[in-house]
Amino acid sequence: MGAWRGLILVVAVLALAPLGLPPYMMTLLTEALILGLFAMSLDLMVGYTRLVSFGHAAAYGFGAYCSGWLLINTDLSLPSAVFVAAIASGVLAIGVAWVCTRSTGVSFSMLTLAFAQLLYAITFRWTSVTGGSDGLAGIPRRPGPFGLTALTSKTGFYFFVLGLLVAAFLLCRQLVNSPFGAVLRGIRENEAKTLALGYNTRAYKIAVVALSYALGGLAGALYAPFAGFANSELLFWLLSGQVLIMVIVGGAGTLIGPILGAAFFMFAQHQLSSYTESWAIYFGMLFIFFVLFVPRGIWGSVAARLRRPAADGR
């Protein structure tokens, strides 16, 4: 299959990146992959189920604080802490989703926002655990398990992130192409009808929100040991807005698109802010340009070109 060949090629190129790129580019790339994972996780909700979350930073920040706290206060190894944090985010999400899925549309979005902001406020107040406004600093990449140290170096950590991203991507791809994924598409296009067909749509929504948060939490859990700190900015609504934009810029409902969107967002902001203090202006114009001229997002447009005209919709 062409898709598999493409995937293997991209992963191979990314795997070779540490050989050629200077360290700061590796930092940038690692961060882009982490954000890509974060954006892809949101795509499950936004692109495949049309559950537009305005509070996805909750997953990211929660994951980051969890893994950060575990790495600082326990003896857990890096992979274990990251894994536990991702699971914890998913569990948190079941509660959040249970409440939020009582509503639909804008109300759903606003409930997710409210939860994220509440979490933000809690992080700010609960100083003994979260470090308050300072956040958690000096988060180590503890080696292990079984004495494994390879993941703690800069390059090792990059491969760790890359591996998890690829695994998460394959998982999501499985999911959206599975019977479960078909139901999600049904909910996206007509929730009432899906319900009437005999699907317990709320259970599906809760499940997809939980998985989305777990993967978002995984991204956050990677971010904390990557950056070495976690602070309340990671829970702020601004990040929720940005990640939503990454998804849309990349192309919602494509999984690959949001990863590209996140990378594009990162690199564009990084480069633009080096050349001009007024980078925000160009960034704003870029958003408007995308909406007007690339409505399907980067990957959405590319995919539409690649696909032969005879192939069926989407």
Partner: protein, 425 residues
């Protein structure tokens, strides 16, 4: 190369840039854009890195130039640019030109770490300065060893940077938060005000400073009647003003900054709070005074730097500043100037910018700066320096009120003990 520092972007605020220079910079911006794609590939990075050892002295400045307190970053940038320009005009340091590598972090610690990493890797930067937020400084500190880079603080007030969070390559030539609280406390010891309250911003800096202050007041046998904390970004301070009136304090210590400070002072004036109690603040700066105008009159507080301080070095600096920028230097402009003076002394003494010798040299710096006598302390890398108490007054020749120095406290009483954030006497 040009005699002015190479800044990587068009200068928006500083008006004194000559036209030719501006054109030159714009061309640089354009070529820079074209090179953007190339930057993504690996080639140029290694070339530049190789040239770093023999090229100019590059000083990295990952500043928060945009965002709510972008003004602080702008001040630091202006001051460092003037310093670099003066040094380069007289042949640079150690025969090498100074080059400032400025990047905007937007106040985001992640961006700050990333951009600093880039400066270190690509530009061969070995000295960084100007970092605005404590959160950024705390995020950078653990990386300094790996980067083999010296961090010269010019505005970071968080006490822990020279205590729990101290790393060998960090130096703080500027006044820290606890020192500001201490200065106000020293002033209050002699005041007849007895019932004292405090109002701080509800985050680390506010809590730390208020805590230092509260301990000070208790030791001074004052009646500390209560402390309030307002979330950052509070727009309506009426409820806090009402609470302060309710506490019936004689004096209130304020740990506010930026928009919060401006909002509080404006509204306190409207509620006539100043008629009920003395307002004392941890930082008095011109930017805020200009923003609130007459509402700042009568305000007292510690000042990390004031252009009105009567000292030959300071007079010289203010005159130079006026000639360059046609106004008087503000708090962080003075603080940065002092930081650069310390750095300069260190570099000259070490005859190198490599971290090892430079660190050793910086640890023994002693000089007279715009804020008077300064001694860098080896044990915690905090500069022992004077504390200033100022009062905001009207003065001939200024369109806005100015801070007038009313008391100067010597460095050994204003600076905490080594690795401490509080005082015992």
């Amino acid at each position: 190369m040009s005699i002015t520092p190479k800044t990587k972007r068009r200068n928006l605020i500083a008006p004194a840039e000559p036209k030719t220079q501006r054109l030159l910079n714009r061309r640089k911006v354009l070529t820079g854009m074209a090179a953007g794609a190339v930057t993504l590939s690996m080639g140029p990075a290694f070339l530049r890195r190789a040239s770093a050892a023999t090229g100019p002295i590059k000083i990295g400045m990952p500043l928060a130039l945009t965002g709510p307190i972008g003004i602080v970053g702008q001040q630091i940038k202006r001051s460092c640019e003037l310093w670099a320009k003066m040094k380069n005009a007289s042949g640079g340091l150690l025969g090498q030109k100074i080059e400032l590598v400025v990047e905007d972090t937007g106040g985001n610690p992640a961006a700050c770490v990333r951009k600093t990493q880039q400066m270190v890797d690509r530009d061969g930067v070995r000295i960084i300065t100007g970092i605005v937020f404590s959160s950024e400084a705390l995020a950078l500190a653990p990386k300094l060893k790996e980067w083999n880079t010296i961090f010269m603080s010019s505005s970071n007030g968080d006490g822990r940077l020279t205590a729990d969070a101290l790393v060998p390559n960090f130096f703080r030539p500027n006044t820290s938060g606890p020192m500001g609280a201490r200065t106000v406390s020293l002033h209050l010891r002699q005041s007849k005000s007895n019932k004292i309250a405090a109002l701080g911003l509800d985050y680390a800096w506010g809590h730390n400073s208020v805590q230092v202050f509260e301990e000070e007041m208790k030791r001074a046998k004052k009646n500390f009647v209560g402390k309030l904390f307002a979330p950052t970004g509070t727009k309506d301070y009426a409820t806090y003003i009402a609470k302060l009136k309710d506490l019936d304090a004689d004096a209130v210590f304020l740990v506010l900054q930026g928009d919060d400070n401006n909002a509080f002072l404006s509204q306190a004036k409207q509620f006539r709070l100043g008629e009920k109690m003395e307002l004392l603040t941890e930082i008095v700066d011109l930017d805020s005074i200009r923003a609130v105008g007459d509402a700042s009159l009568g305000l007292m507080g510690s000042s990390r730097y004031s252009f009105t301080y009567n000292h030959p070095k300071n007079k010289e600096f203010v005159a130079l500043w006026q000639k360059e920028y046609n106004n008087v230097p503000d708090t962080f402009e003075g603080e940065s100037w002092q930081t650069m003076a310390v750095l300069e002394a260190g570099i000259l003494k070490a005859k190198s910018i490599d971290a090892e010798p430079l660190r050793a040299a910086l640890e023994t710096v002693e000089l007279e700066s715009v804020k008077g006598k300064l001694t860098m302390r080896k044990c915690d890398h905090q500069a022992v320096q004077q504390g200033f108490m100022v009062k905001v007054v009207k003065r001939e020749g200024f369109s806005h009120p100015v801070p007038d120095v009313v008391a100067v406290y010597p460095g050994d009483v204003t600076t905490p003990r080594c690795n401490k954030t509080s005082y015992d006497d």
